[in-house]
C-alpha cells in the first residue's frame, strides 16, 4: 500500500518529517520532556482502542482532554519547546558526534586536571556527557559554558572556589555547568564507608549514560563510575585508556 504512494515528493516529505522528529526526540532525550511523549503515546493508543471498541463517551472525553493536555504541555514545557525549535536550525541535523582528535584533546585536559587534583588530594566530580541529555542536572548548578581546560577544572574544584561543591558537567569541548547536584545512589551493594561524592557519581551513572570521574579528597584516589559500576584506585593512564575506549564506541 505504502509503495503505491512512493515517489520523489513523498520521499522528500518523509525525510523532512524524519529530520524534524529526530531533532525533537534528541532534545527531549534525558529531560522531563520524555514523559510528555510517553503521555501522548498512551493517549493515542487508548484513543485507537476505544475507537475499535466503539466506546463513544470515552472517545469524546479523550478528544477533549487531549486538546486540554496540549495546552498544558505548551505552558509547562515552554523552555524545552523553545530549545527544541532553536536546535532545529543547527547544522548537522543527523550528526553531532565528535572526531577522534577532539575526543583525545578533551580527555587529555580532563585527565591532566584529575591527576593534579589527585596529587593535591582535592575532591572532584566530573561528569562527561555521552548520548543522554543531562539538562535537569545542568539546571541544578551554575552555567559556565566555557572551553574545557585542565586549569579551569583545577580552578573550579579549588576548595576556596565558590563552585567547588557539587559536580562539573562536560559536554564535548565545553564545561557546561559547575556546582551541579547529582542524584545519590540508593544501591545497597555499595560499601558502607563510601562518601557522598562517590555516591553522587554512581547515582548519576545509574540515571544516565554519562561517564563520571571522581577524585577522593581523603586519599586522592581516582575512580570512574559507568552504568552504576564504580572502578576505583585508577592511575591517570588507566583512566585515559578507559575513557578513550568508552568514548570511541
Amino acid at each position: 500500500m505504502f509503495l503505491r504512494f512512493l515517489n520523489a515528493r513523498t520521499i522528500l516529505e518523509i525525510i523532512i518529517l524524519w529530520a524534524v522528529i529526530y531533532r525533537v526526540l534528541v532534545s527531549l532525550k534525558g529531560t522531563r520532556g520524555v514523559y510528555i511523549i510517553r503521555g501522548i503515546i498512551v493517549l493515542i493508543i487508548s484513543y485507537f482502542i476505544f475507537q475499535k471498541l466503539g466506546l463513544t463517551v470515552l472517545i469524546w472525553l479523550l478528544t477533549n482532554f487531549f486538546a486540554f493536555y496540549l495546552i498544558i504541555i505548551v505552558v509547562i514545557f515552554q523552555p524545552e519547546l523553545r530549545e527544541a525549535l532553536i536546535k532545529l536550525g543547527q547544522r548537522h541535523i543527523f550528526y553531532k558526534g565528535l572526531g577522534k582528535e577532539e575526543i583525545e584533546k578533551i580527555l587529555r585536559e580532563i585527565v591532566s586536571a584529575v591527576s593534579i587534583l589527585s596529587r593535591k588530594k582535592i575532591g572532584a566530580l566530573i561528569a562527561i556527557k555521552r548520548e543522554m541529555g543531562l539538562k535537569d542536572y545542568i539546571e541544578s548548578g551554575v552555567m559556565v559554558n566555557a572551553d574545557l581546560s585542565s586549569e579551569l577544572l583545577q580552578n573550579i574544584f579549588h576548595p576556596l572556589a565558590p563552585l567547588h561543591d557539587g559536580g562539573v558537567i562536560v559536554e564535548g569541548p565545553k564545561i557546561v555547568a559547575a556546582s551541579c547536584l547529582f542524584p545519590h545512589s540508593d544501591s545497597l551493594n555499595l560499601e558502607k564507608g563510601i562518601g557522598m561524592r562517590h555516591r553522587s557519581g554512581i547515582g548519576l551513572s545509574e540515571h544516565s549514560d554519562a561517564l563520571v570521574v571522581i577524585v577522593s579528597e581523603e586519599n586522592g584516589h581516582i575512580s570512574l563510575a559507568i552504568n552504576g559500576q564504580l572502578t576505583g584506585d585508577l592511575t591517570s593512564d588507566d583512566l585515559l585508556t578507559i575513557l578513550k575506549g568508552q568514548l570511541s564506541k
Binding site: T10, E13, I14, I21, L25, V26, F94, Y95, G97
Partner: protein, 48 residues
C-alpha cells in the same frame, strides 16, 4: 574586512549512520506513520 570561510569537517559516513542509530530508526518509523495517517486523512477529505 575579514572574510570568514566555513570550515567543512570531514563527514564520517559510518558515524553519521551509527550515531544515535535507534533514535534515528524510531524517528523514521514515526515519520512514516505520521505521513501515512495525514495523507490518508487528506485523501478522505478530497473524496468528500
Amino acid at each position: 574586512m575579514k572574510i570568514k570561510f566555513l570550515k567543512l569537517r570531514k563527514l564520517n559516513i559510518k558515524e553519521l549512520i551509527t550515531y544515535n542509530f535507534w533514535l534515528k530508526m524510531i524517528s523514521l518509523g514515526i515519520a512514516i506513520v505520521v505521513w501515512l495517517y495525514v495523507s490518508n486523512q487528506i485523501t478522505k477529505g478530497l473524496k468528500i
